[in-house]
């Protein structure tokens, strides 16, 4: 079931004035896929999720699950289906495992609310706990669980009623780094298996890329870009998205030629062969983003494009690669170099930049 959001607005009033949390957001969350809302804190992603859950009330716009409108600001009084009638599942940032109940009681709760018979409840709770690999934990009090186990109980509780829509509010942010990576992998497997519409809020870019079929990047209450993880990573359109995904190398220049997929940009470090300038006319001032893994030292005799003479300013060994700072003319570039190269700080070296890693931004 897809989630359709149309022209949604939400303003919070605070002592320092009003803050627009959502500005005219229009978005379709594709059915039976994992979609992430990615953005820095305060970008409105959690507000959007809470509006979908019915925990927050928008000011205007419309939210629909498939054909059923669950919130609408049209008319004198907003129409709203209350949270408990929206038939969703949700995993909270703090897990929200009820401390006065056992694991079984926590997971059985949504089924009891729907008035299912006792044996049906027992069967489905067992299934859900099996699914999250917590079989045998039924009688444990919720207070006796580790963070990772609480997280899985929260997931079991969210999916036990087989909702068509599952919402996640930064569910991994309270786990430590190692557990977070494991859980991410497991969550991806479970969500693919379930095939429900999942909407997942996070500020962690690697989490968003690893988990989702569709990534929606937000900033200051607006959607900046959306697409598959590969599209967002390899073919970003805005500097904000690049910077949020960790990119640091930006070069200003003038577009001199646009030949189908490829474009030439005149920059202070020389002419760069890039892509991503579709529809732009020559003469335009542009910013070129260079991915740090696109740079590599070149053999003196090679004839590759984007060949420059550079100097190694600093070289830091971080294990899997070198973190290098290179200088071409006055331009400084951060590069990830394979450890197979034998370079030294202060060394002059010819180098190439893979045109596939150079992208013209709007």
């Amino acid at each position: 079931m897809e989630i359709r959001i149309t022209n949604l607005n939400k303003t919070f009033s605070s002592p320092d004035g009003d803050v627009a949390a959502l500005k005219n957001v229009t978005l379709t969350v594709p059915a039976n896929q994992v979609t992430t809302l990615l953005g820095p804190s305060g970008c409105g992603k959690t507000t959007l999720l809470r509006c979908i859950a019915g925990l927050e009330s928008p000011d205007s716009g419309e939210i629909a699950f498939g054909d059923q409108v669950v919130w609408s600001g049209q008319g004198k009084k907003p129409y709203s289906v209350p949270t408990e009638k929206r038939g969703i599942g949700m995993v909270f940032q703090t897990y929200a495992i009820w401390p006065h109940m056992t694991v079984f009681q926590n997971v059985a709760y949504p089924l009891e609310a729907r008035g299912l018979p006792r044996d049906e409840i027992a069967r489905r709770v067992a299934e859900a706990l099996e699914f999250v690999q917590l079989a045998g934990f039924e009688r444990r009090p919720a207070t006796a669980l580790s963070g990772g186990q609480q997280q899985r109980v929260a997931l079991a509780r969210a999916l036990v009623s087989q909702p068509k829509i599952l919402l996640f509010d930064e569910p991994l942010s309270n786990l430590d780094a190692k557990l977070r990576e494991e859980t991410r992998r497991e969550l991806r497997r479970l969500l693919t298996q379930l095939g429900v519409t999942a909407l997942y809020v996070t500020h962690d870019r690697s989490e968003a890329l690893a988990l989702s079929d569709h990534v929606v990047v937000m900033r200051a209450g607006e959607i900046v870009e959306q697409g598959s993880p590969q599209e967002i990573y390899f073919r970003p359109k805005s500097r904000f998205v690049v910077e949020f995904l960790g990119g640091t190398n930006f070069v200003e220049g003038t577009l001199v030629a646009n030949e189908g997929e490829w474009a030439r940009v005149e920059t202070p470090m020389g002419q760069l062969l890039c892509h991503g300038a579709d529809g732009m006319s020559p003469g335009r001032r542009v910013t070129v983003y260079i991915r740090s893994d696109a740079l590599s030292p070149a053999s003196p005799e090679s004839q590759e494009p984007n060949r420059f003479q550079g100097r190694v300013e600093s070289l830091i060994f971080v294990g899997e690669y070198y973190d290098a700072e290179l200088r071409v003319g006055e331009t400084r570039l951060m590069a990830r170099l394979a450890t197979t190269h034998s370079l030294a700080e202060g060394q002059e070296t010819p180098m190439t930049i893979d045109p596939a890693g150079c992208r013209v931004l709007e």
Binding site: W98, H100, S173
Partner: protein, 561 residues
């Protein structure tokens, strides 16, 4: 290092002796006295006092009244506390300021004066509200009844229950509630299945705390219970001591031991429950932010309810006292009444040498007692928080014991303790009694202060070469100052209106204001009661303002330094 440890040991030993003497001393005297023949505390063993008092035909009714009274107050106070705490922390309720005011008021107003103002409003013959109700063909409501007493005691204990519930509500992760809505439960079902069960330990703790206070409450039963001949254990004990030619301390002690026993059980129950409640709420972890839910159409009705409660609890009683203090005799407000306004009650109260002496005594006791009490509290709570040995655990248990002390009952123990010394009948006797009974109220805010001061700060001082006492003076004490001042303020206002211990220990020459107030209540001199009550409110308010001024000055110094 070695000498430092020995110093600490001695320090704890001295504290144990002092705190133990203050708490176990009077309790033991009470028990010993109840089993001894004769008027003094020590004599031949006898069960005669028990036999006589427990065969008293009135006792079963008194016990029943006490149970109804204290449970009634506890349920009323706790129910209101849960509703108000939820409205304050979780909703967009208007008139929020009223909610912040509520806990302060019953701290400041003498309970005798508060009870009196309700007697003036709702006594069955000419209560001001009853007169208004009669205009509409309703009433009269009789405040001199068990429900009336429960109503007033419940309102007075509401702040105590409120503070306990708020502590749990403030750390209640709101997504616990939201997760229930998402699971398909309505708001009402969520209250029953999630909110109340999670708050249950805190709710039980609040009930227990109010039970302890209302079992040992003397002011309201004496103002509102005695006229209607509704006796509870405290007024029963009071009559044994103060009515008749010879005060019967022996029988009072024999009953008092049971009251004390019940209170001690409740105190340790309370301690167990608060520990449980903390375990329940600490689960929420990081990333917690409270969300405010909209009350919608209920917003203004509930807001008006809160406002009404504020008026009922604060404005009305104070206005009634002010009005009563300014009319020559009790009469309903009318044009005629306002023509007769007079300062007579005020000039009489302030011209009475006995009252002036009581005023001086009360201020001396409040300042001296609060200062002594807070010094002892600071040292004790520091040891309890930081020094984790068996003797510090004993120290903590001892301070908790005095939490249960009904002032009137333990006062008898103190009286016997002082009877053979020069302290008997002096202000020192009252001072020691005050500090002993109210020690936990100083210790509690300080314990939480010390828990918040990182141990590293002290270790850094030790590493820099400072010993235990130097570290305490140079590092710990300055950081704990805000907590010390707030504890000091709390003790000040409690001592200004202290009634229970004073009733037993005050003698001619060591009268205090509340005892004078009690005499005026007993003689039904309502104008004087009102004037004196307001004077006591004014003294507390002045002292609190001074303490707050000091606190803000110190905190500025802290920022500059």
């Amino acid at each position: 290092m070695q000498s430092g440890q020995i110093g600490t040991k001695w320090f704890i030993a001295v504290l144990l002796v002092v705190v133990g003497g203050l708490t176990l001393g009077p309790a033991l005297m009470l028990v010993v006295g109840s089993f001894s023949q004769g008027l003094g505390a020590v004599g031949t063993f006898t069960l005669e006092k028990y036999a006589r008092v427990y065969s008293d035909a009135r006792l079963p009714q008194v016990v029943l009244n006490t149970v109804i009274y204290s449970f009634g107050s506890a349920f009323l106070a706790t129910t209101l506390a849960v509703i108000l705490a939820y409205l304050n922390f979780r909703t967009d309720i208007p008139f929020r300021g009223v909610l912040h005011l509520l806990p302060v008021v019953s701290m400041m107003i003498p309970h005798l004066a508060y009870g009196s103002s309700w007697a003036l409003l709702l006594n069955p013959t000419n209560g001001m509200l009853n007169l208004i109700l009669q205009e509409f063909g309703l009433g009269p409501i009789n405040i001199y009844s068990l429900p009336g007493m429960i109503f007033v005691e419940g309102l007075l204990d509401l702040p105590v229950a409120y503070l306990v519930i708020v502590a749990a509500m403030a750390s209640f992760d709101s997504s616990l509630e939201e997760a229930s809505w998402v699971s398909g439960r309505s708001r009402a079902a969520t209250w029953w299945r999630i909110i109340l069960p999670i708050l249950r330990p805190a709710i039980l703790a609040a009930i227990t705390l109010v039970l302890i206070r209302s079992i040992s409450a003397f002011a309201i039963p004496s103002v509102l219970g005695m006229p209607g001949r509704i006796e509870v254990l405290t007024t029963f004990i009071y009559r044994l001591i103060n009515v008749g030619f010879v005060p019967d301390y022996g029988r009072a002690a024999a009953v008092g031991v049971s009251v004390l026993g019940a209170a001690v059980v409740l105190v340790y129950l309370y301690r167990y429950l608060t520990a449980r409640s903390e375990r329940f709420v600490t689960i929420s972890g990081k990333g917690y932010r409270p969300t405010i839910s909209r009350l919608g159409v209920w917003r203004w009705p509930l807001g008006l309810f809160v406002l009404l409660l504020g008026i009922l609890l604060v404005v009305l009683p104070v206005l009634v006292l002010l009005y009563t203090s300014l009319v020559p005799y009790v009469m309903a407000p009318s044009a005629e009444a306002f023509r007769q306004l007079t300062w007579r009650n005020w000039t009489q109260v302030l011209g009475d040498p006995l009252t002036l002496r009581a005023l001086r005594n009360s201020i001396i006791l409040a300042l001296g007692g609060a200062t002594l009490g807070i010094i002892l509290s600071t040292l004790t709570s520091y040891v309890v928080v930081r020094v984790r040995t068996r003797s510090s655990a004993v120290l903590e248990a001892l301070t908790f014991l005095s939490f249960s002390f009904p002032g009137l009952v333990i006062g008898v123990g103190f009286m016997w303790l002082f009877a053979r010394t020069d302290l008997y009948g002096t202000l020192w006797a009252l001072l020691i009694g005050y500090v002993a009974v109210y020690l936990p109220y100083g210790i509690r805010p300080l314990t939480s202060t010390f828990i918040q001061i990182s141990k590293d700060l002290e270790d850094a001082s030790a590493v820099s070469g400072a010993g235990f006492f130097r570290t305490f003076r140079k590092v710990v004490a300055p950081l704990a100052l805000p907590g010390v001042l707030s504890g000091w303020t709390l003790l000040l206002v409690m001592f200004v209106r202290e009634l229970d211990v004073s009733t037993v220990l005050a003698r001619p020459g060591s009268e205090v204001l509340s005892v004078q107030l009690y005499r005026a209540v007993a003689d039904a001199l309502w104008g004087r009661v009102a004037a004196l009550g307001l004077i006591m409110v004014a003294i507390s308010t002045t002292l609190v303002l001074i303490a707050n001024g000091l606190a803000s000055r110190f905190s500025r110094m802290g920022k500059a330094g």
